[in-house]
């Protein structure tokens, strides 16, 4: 997969990440299924990718007063240590097992969404 295609995929997902709409998940799907990266490697790159992408868009979100600061602080305080523990668990798994769990997670997400739409 060429670097140019990767950059294009990164840009498209960056716009969605900036909007807070799961652009990172889409990039992860792209890297896992299209670029055929090992699941753990793709996940590591996806995490690194989100940092500058979200930082640039976050500047605008703060400037526009769109961030609920207190809620964000509390959620981040709870989320960060648990994310570290979960990352530790994920990196202890075999890549194939991690990929299968990731696939199941995607299916669950889609079914959950379909359930909501049928209400």
């Amino acid at each position: 997969m060429s670097a140019a295609v990767g950059a294009l995929a990164g840009a498209a997902c960056g716009v969605l990440s900036g909007w807070g709409i799961g652009g990172g998940s889409l990039l992860l799907i792209y890297m896992s299924f299209a670029a055929r990266m090992e699941q753990g490697a793709a996940q590591g790159i996806n995490l690194i990718y989100f940092i500058p992408t979200s930082a640039t868009s976050l500047v605008f979100h703060f400037k526009n007063g769109l961030v609920d600061r207190r809620c964000a602080l509390l959620a981040a305080l709870a989320g960060a240590p648990l994310a570290a523990a979960a990352a530790f668990a994920a990196t202890a798994l075999h890549p194939d097992a991690l990929r299968r769990i990731f696939g199941a997670y995607l299916i669950w997400s889609a079914l959950r969404l379909l359930g909501k739409k049928n209400k």
Binding site: G10, G20, G44, S57, V67, P81
Partner: protein
Amino acid sequence: MEMNGRRKLRCLLAGAAAGILNGFFGGGGGMVLVPMLENLCGVEEKRAFATSVAVMLPVCVVSAAIYALRIGIDLRAALPYLAGGLAGGFLGGVTFRRVPASLLRYVFAALMIYGGVRALL
């Protein structure tokens, strides 16, 4: 919005759920966090999208550090995505206020369906 004890707990819970998923799957925390911020924490839809970005940034920094220490991260392979992501993130931030909330919801829904279908194939 007023921050009473119950709402504090809900914000902590939303962050915890998003952190676990994002750390384990290396992404996807925002997809869970946005609806939780809306339905559980009472954050208005558009603010929920922006607030989720603010939560996921530190969560991703911590998770990335663990991945880098445990299995390593190929920064050379990440470079094209990072370059594109910087431009896209800037564009996303600039255009965010001009995008109607309903469109955000549809794009969000389409992404989740796409991911599910790809996993099934």
